[in-house]
């Protein structure tokens, strides 16, 4: 497998999409950090680095979906996966080397965000308010989350021999998942009760409305399902980590690890038997 990894990383160095991903994350980080500095200065705010440091976690899934699907898809479209299989009959090694390459490349992309954020932000923005242990836990959580993303994209792109179809599947999939996670967050953040309020009607009379139950508040097993998917989906985790909500770090990391194990096991099983054209 080391030979395959060596070949993959040599390819990454020349891969335009990899460098585009890094440039995007650097640009994103610079924009977010500079904007925070500007707003702090103009409106006399005191936004700390906590609020922007993990901003990459929402975007890394999207960037990773593009990179992983095209990187692996090119092996099928150019036919070069055939060279690997003919020479290296160990299909597990081929699959795992692609998974490792995808994961490391995606981690390098988000690290480039972090480096720029620190380089520009630390001199001008107040340092972390939260404890460093929380920062480290959140960082580890995002690493596991990114690997979970990559394991899903690797599964899809290793099993679909058409580069365009696998790219569309990965990119659409991550956007759909993100929309679902946003909807889940909005639903779960609904308050149980609508507070009491009063208003003056057309006749000039004061009308009192008592506190009432929010009909959109989800309860019971339905709430449990929403809460599960909020933490299980990598996109749900990305929303939490972006604002450093890492109270459920252990649970979310376990979900990510299970995603990695299950998708990789399925991918290995199917790829091993797959007829390659």
């Amino acid at each position: 497998m080391s030979k395959l990894l060596r070949a993959n990383f040599a390819r990454i160095k020349k891969d335009k999409l990899f460098w585009l991903g890094i440039i995007f994350m650097i640009g994103l980080s610079a924009f977010v950090t500079l904007n925070t500095i500007y707003e702090n200065d103009k409106y006399n705010l005191s936004t700390t680095i906590d609020n922007i440091f993990f901003g990459y976690s929402v975007f890394i899934g999207i960037v990773s979906s593009v990179f992983c699907s095209v990187f692996v898809g090119t092996e099928y479209s150019d036919g070069t996966i055939r060279n690997k299989i003919i020479v290296e009959n160990n299909r597990e090694a081929i699959y795992l080397s692609n998974l490792i390459t995808n994961s490391i490349s995606s981690i390098i992309m988000f690290l480039s965000y972090i480096i720029v954020c620190l380089a520009i932000g630390v001199p001008f923005i107040e340092f972390f308010q939260k404890e460093i242990s929380i920062v480290i836990i959140t960082l580890i959580g995002t690493v596991v989350m990114v690997i979970a993303f990559c394991s899903i994209f690797t599964l899809v792109s290793m099993l679909i021999q058409n580069k365009a179809v696998s790219a569309i599947s990965c990119i659409l999939g991550v956007f759909i998942s993100l929309f679902i996670s946003i909807m889940i967050v909005q639903t779960l953040s609904q308050s149980k009760m609508w507070g009491a309020y009063s208003y003056t009607n057309g006749d000039g009379e004061l009308v009192q409305v008592d506190e009432q139950e929010n009909p959109y508040y989800v309860t019971g097993y339905k709430r449990k399902i929403y809460e599960f998917f909020d933490k299980f989906l990598p996109t749900g985790q990305s929303l939490k980590y972006s604002s450093m909500q890492s109270e459920d770090f252990v649970e979310m990391s376990l979900y990510s690890l299970s995603t990695i194990v299950v998708t990789t096991a399925i991918g290995l099983f199917i790829f091993k038997k797959k007829d390659i054209k």
Binding site: K3, T80, I81, I86
Partner: protein, 302 residues
């Protein structure tokens, strides 16, 4: 005789379609084995199976004496290189970068020999040109170059001259002959361009509907070719009557021409025809071609 590849009742079934149906063949060491069959006969499927891209449904094959379902087959595959349908090359890399990738995949310690391989296939002057800007012939040659990394002694080429111009076809043919004669590389080449194959192959395997119909060496094939005499006459009826009396195999082409498939003494033909008022306008000896041999073997339309 030593064989590089032997297959034993190899079968490959795709849902309702049987691409290989009990295929048994033997590729002798040092040969250029021409694998002949029409589109959809099973040529590419067989190549995919022996290269490990697909598993056979039934049957087995041996590569350098190692059976396909043993661990040792991996070592045997290291001794082969293959170009299957389209050349497997990274389009965004140069020729040299593509070869460097293959060196890395094989785990070779350095890039020694890359220039020699590029020289051998005639791509040493491509410089920084990316493979996506290569002509089809250049891409084919790069595919062969990649297959040659690691010094294989068995090369599998699936329709290597498809889509090439005459110059490209000549270049590939000369390269294959050089690899076989100078480097003693056994070559399995599949094609449906019979004329080209006839200039290369030392052995033939004719495949039809997933089965080997016949395996034969080029020498034996030459002997097997039917001699044919094409006769043009003024009265076909008279000729036909005479040939029937002589008990000779023939085929009428039109109202003036017929092919006679046995050696016939011309005098014994001309004299009786002349006596019945039939003149011979033209006689030509025509040797059977690989094409007609193949058509007769698998049965085809006119």
């Amino acid at each position: 005789m030593e064989y590089v590849l032997t297959t034993n009742n190899l079968t490959k079934q795709y849902k309702k379609f049987k691409a290989l149906d009990g295929l048994t063949m033997n590729v002798p060491k040092g040969s250029i084995y021409g694998f002949v069959g029409k589109n959809g006969a099973g040529k590419t499927t067989l190549i995919r199976v022996i290269c490990g891209l697909q598993q056979p449904t039934n049957g087995s094959y041996h590569l350098y004496g190692k059976e396909n379902n043993t661990k040792e087959i991996v070592k045997s595959r290291r001794r082969m290189g293959a170009v299957i349908e389209t050349p497997a090359i990274y389009l965004d890399m140069t020729a040299k970068e593509n070869l460097e990738q293959q060196y890395r995949i094989l785990g070779l310690p350095n890039f020694k020999g890359i220039d020699d391989i590029l020289n051998l296939v005639g791509l040493s002057n491509t410089g920084k040109k990316k493979a996506k800007n290569f002509s089809l012939g250049m891409k084919q040659r790069l595919g062969i170059a990649i297959a040659l990394v690691g010094d294989p002694d068995f090369l599998v080429l699936d329709e290597p001259v498809n889509g090439l111009d005459p110059q490209g076809i000549i270049e590939i043919r000369e390269l294959i002959l050089k690899l076989n004669r100078e480097f003693q590389i056994t070559v399995l080449i599949s094609s449906h361009i019979l004329e080209e194959l006839s200039k290369l192959a030392t052995h033939y395997g004719f495949i039809d509907k997933g089965k080997i119909v016949k395996e034969i060496s080029a020498e034996e094939l030459e002997k097997d070719f039917k001699t044919c005499m094409r006769v043009e006459v003024t009265n076909m009826k008279v000729l036909v009557n005479l040939l029937d009396q002589m008990g000779v195999e023939y085929e009428v082409l039109d109202d003036k021409k017929a092919d006679i498939f046995e050696k016939v003494n011309i005098t014994s033909l001309a004299v009786p025809l002349s006596q019945k008022g039939c003149e011979i306008l033209n006689i030509q000896e025509r040797d059977e071609s690989l094409e007609s041999y193949y058509i007769n073997l698998v049965g085809g339309g006119k």
